[in-house]
């Protein structure tokens, strides 16, 4: 039996939408790659860490408990089917609606198809990491990866850790690591106090966020973590694995200040440069994508493809609170539209106001947190910029300089950068920066690799009643 609504992604946006829709009589199938609900933000299990988080981020913890209970209630009542460990590789438009194609099983080889009248893309985002000499050394991991280790497995990276890059994720990562007993040698953030001062008004409009940031900073100071604003990592050193990083202060133009470079010994570097939205499923469906910003949606979170909604980071990076608001609105819009009525936006006016404020706030953050303007200058020719295909920066520069490539697609064709296992999800921003072209969103009709025998045969339909 088909489902009314298929929600892809069980993070904040997907959960809020599932609950809002199910509460209004919609039969929901929630499809998610993780073994349990929560997404990146409410990553589970959090046993042991729970008490600590609940203390520091009380409001978020309460929100999570409410979401979890709401989901459980709807699952128990048969209104929501939660397909865990299901990796969606494609959403297909058919003459009768939409079909979500997923892979399940330990090897991700068992095809599952969910037929739905409406689909919500709540596919979240992924971390942007820009290359620098030494970034491929063992011991260098993404800031989000470090946080996932902490939240998901409670395993912490060993030895001395440097947290570096830019973005609102770095503070909680450094704080979380320090609170877990890890020696955090430094927090290296390319944004500086003057960037925050420039946007003081907009930031002050979100007092909750400011308090959150102040709390993190206070805790870092308590753990004696050195904070280096307006600094960047120039290079990671080590033979077989990471031994140290060189950091330097940045001048107002975003170039390293001569004479400020210094070496910090460390065993782990957790580095991140903000987030990018997952837009591949939307792109393949033909939804309009706003450059690298995300899936374009209207006030009801509808994409321009009939029957397809999007919410959360997929529509633009904005954090969990914004994802919750967008998901809630999407769920209510879907419930109304599926019953053939136009929704009354006044019913969610309060949530819409909060959404607007949070979007303004995230736009402000985008202005504050930006990688150093000239980061690509630090990437020497020998640095591998595409790890899957082992393409070096020099090869990319040669494609631009000698072979006349002027856009990312041509660079890719001539160098194979972005053609490997990750399909450019990791390396695209780095390759674009080194090539000096505008970055474009990663595109593939397969949101993840799909075995040819799965592709070759038409799958059996599976929905809530067929499980």
């Amino acid at each position: 039996m088909p489902t009314d609504l298929a929600v892809i992604g069980a993070g904040p946006a997907g959960l809020a939408a599932s609950i809002a829709a199910a509460a209004r009589g919609v039969r929901v199938t929630l499809v998610d790659a993780a073994p349990s609900a929560g997404g990146q933000f409410y990553r589970q299990p959090a046993t042991g860490l729970g008490a600590r988080r609940a203390q520091a981020l009380h409001h978020q913890w309460r929100t999570w408990t409410r979401l979890r209970e709401g989901l459980d209630r709807h699952i128990a009542a048969g209104r929501v089917t939660h397909l865990t460990d299901h990796h969606v590789w494609n959403v297909e438009r058919t003459s009768t609606g939409l079909t979500v194609h997923a892979l399940s099983g330990p090897e991700q080889e068992t095809p599952v198809a969910v037929r739905a009248d409406a689909v919500l893309l709540a596919t979240g985002g992924y971390e942007r990491v820009l290359p620098f000499p030494g970034w491929t050394l063992p011991g260098v991991l993404t800031a989000g990866g470090a946080q996932a280790m902490l939240k998901g497995t409670l395993v912490v990276p060993g030895g001395r850790v440097v947290v570096a890059g830019t973005g609102p994720l770095l503070l909680p990562v450094a704080t979380g690591l320090a609170a877990a007993g890890v020696a955090v040698a430094a927090l290296v953030e390319s944004a500086g106090p003057e960037d925050f001062a420039r946007h003081a008004g907009a930031l002050a409009a979100q007092p909750g966020k400011a308090v959150e940031g102040a709390l993190y900073t206070a805790r870092l100071l308590r753990h004696r973590v050195r904070i280096l604003p307006r600094h960047t990592v120039l290079e990671a050193h080590g033979d077989d694995r990471l031994e140290a990083v060189t950091v330097a202060a940045l001048d107002p133009a975003g170039r390293p200040r001569p004479g400020t470079a210094r070496r910090i010994p460390c065993d782990t570097l957790a580095v991140g440069h903000g987030m990018l939205p997952h837009t591949e499923l939307a792109d393949t469906l033909g939804c309009r994508i706003d450059g690298v910003a995300g899936v374009a949606v209207d006030d009801e979170q509808r994409t321009d493809v009939p029957g397809v909604w999007a919410a959360g980071e997929a529509t633009g990076i904005g954090g969990a609170a914004l994802a919750l608001a967008e998901g809630h609105i999407a769920g209510r819009s879907i419930a109304a539209r599926l019953s053939g009525t136009a929704p009354d936006p006044r019913q969610w006016e309060r949530v819409a106001r909060s959404r607007a404020a949070l979007r303004r706030f995230s736009t402000t953050l985008d202005g504050v947190y930006a990688p150093p303007a000239h980061w690509a200058d630090q990437v020497d020719d020998a640095t591998v910029v595409c790890r899957c295909e082992e393409v070096r920066a020099g090869t990319v520069r040669e494609a631009v300089g000698r072979l006349g490539a002027g856009d990312l697609r041509t660079v890719k064709l001539l160098t194979r950068a972005g053609m490997g296992w990750c399909q450019g999800r990791i390396c695209t921003p780095g390759v674009a920066g080194v090539a000096g072209c505008a970055p474009t969103a990663a595109r593939s009709p397969f949101a993840r690799p799909v075995p040819l025998d799965v592709l070759a045969r038409e799958p059996l339909q599976e929905g809530p009643d067929a499980c």
Binding site: N90, E92, H101, T284, G286, E389, A399, R402, L403, G404, A405, G406, D407, R409, T410, L413, L414, R416, M419, G420, W421, Q423, S444, P445, F446, P449, V450, P451, L452, D453, L455, A456, R457, E458
Partner: protein, 368 residues
């Protein structure tokens, strides 16, 4: 690719060449091709003659450019799964041999010597040692570079400049005029639009094709391998979807799976049914591929001409305008010969091949 080859051979003939493209190098169908340099899929006739000339020139270029263009003289193997198909295939091979093609009949029990991972139960095949492969985007970029032509990318041709007497004397672009006594239209699938700017018609239509790309693998498919019905699909005039399995490895590791043909205009949307048909065809030929994962697809628009022959040569309707386009799915392979012939006539010489079958105005005359 065809434009790059025209630029190279024209420059080597001593001409001053400017290469104008509204996009980047290899931004059109070239960047979406598999890089096939084939004689195996061509029936005896003018296209096969052009292919044989082109192959000879490709070999020369490969000596010069080396591995930069991933040139692989790997050979093609065409297989048949039924006796009737095999008889037709061997019949074609005999005609091709008479036309100068190397073609070796391969009995069923020898097929796995050539391709150890082929499915059992095939009735036989033909080996074409002259079939080759090149990485088309790299080839185009390196030919452009070797030509030393002035490369004007990101410039859209908006008009063809004519004298009062009607002679072509250059092109107008969105970023200024480019003056030249000869203009070569090598705009591939979009050549009809360029021809129209010069006031002449050229019936080029897009014929969409998808290629499925697998994860990188150790070399397991040695040749370009395809089913005998591919030849029939290539020669077909149908607008409906046709798929016939074409499987080949690449120097970089991924296996490329083609080939689909459908006339759906310039529709760039992904089609899961086409991807399914390609996967089904490829796994029938090579069962080991069942467990291999598809990473992505790409699509391109072949410049389709109603009689499956390209337009190569001067256009008497617009003196000074030359066409080098409409090669459908064979543009990479036929580019060198096309560029060479265009350079010969631009230099005032006699072309090595008779260009009569490729006359750009041939459709108009038929209509009259």
């Amino acid at each position: 690719m065809v434009g790059a080859a025209c630029a190279l051979y024209a420059a080597r003939a001593g001409l001053d060449v400017a290469l104008v493209d509204r996009g980047p190098v290899a931004g059109g169908t070239t960047g979406a091709g598999e890089g096939n340099l084939l004689v195996s899929d061509k029936e005896p006739g003018p296209e096969l003659e052009l292919a044989l000339l082109s192959l000879r020139l490709w070999d020369e270029l490969a000596d010069e450019l080396g591995p930069a263009v991933e040139y692989e003289p790997k050979g093609g193997v065409v297989v048949a799964s039924a006796p009737e198909g095999l008889a037709a295939l061997e019949g074609l091979a005999a005609e091709q041999r008479a036309a100068g093609v190397e073609a070796v009949d391969v009995p069923a029990n020898r097929l796995r010597d050539l391709e150890p991972h082929l499915a059992p139960g095939l009735t036989g095949g033909v080996l074409y040692p002259q079939d080759r492969q090149v990485m088309p985007a790299l080839a185009a970029a390196h030919l452009v570079r070797a030509s030393r032509a002035r490369l004007l990318t990101g410039r859209t041709v908006t008009g063809v400049l004519r004298t009062r007497q009607g002679a072509v004397r250059g092109v107008r672009t969105d970023r200024g005029d480019v003056h030249a006594p000869a203009v070569v239209n090598a705009a591939g699938t979009w050549s009809g639009e360029v021809a129209a700017l010069a006031g002449v018609t050229l019936p080029v239509l897009p014929r969409r094709g998808f290629v499925l790309v697998t994860e990188p693998l150790p070399p397991r498919v040695r040749h370009k391998v395809y089913a005998a019905d591919y030849v029939a699909d290539v020669a077909s005039d149908s607008a409906a979807l046709q798929t016939s399995p074409v499987v080949e490895g690449t120097a970089a590791g991924p296996v490329l799976i083609g080939a689909s043909r459908e006339r759906v205009g310039f529709d760039r949307s992904f089609s899961l049914p086409v991807a399914r048909a390609l996967a089904a065809g490829a796994t029938r030929l090579f069962p080991f591929l069942e467990q291999v994962r598809a990473m992505r697809t790409y699509l391109g628009f072949r410049p389709y001409m109603p009689d499956h022959l390209p337009a190569v040569g001067p256009d008497p309707r617009a003196p000074g305008l030359y066409h080098a386009c409409g090669h459908e799915g064979a543009g990479i392979g036929l580019s060198t010969g096309t560029g060479h012939l265009i350079a010969q006539i631009l230099g005032g010489g006699r072309p090595e091949l008779d260009l009569t079958p490729f006359r750009p105005e041939r459709f108009e005359q038929e209509a009259v």
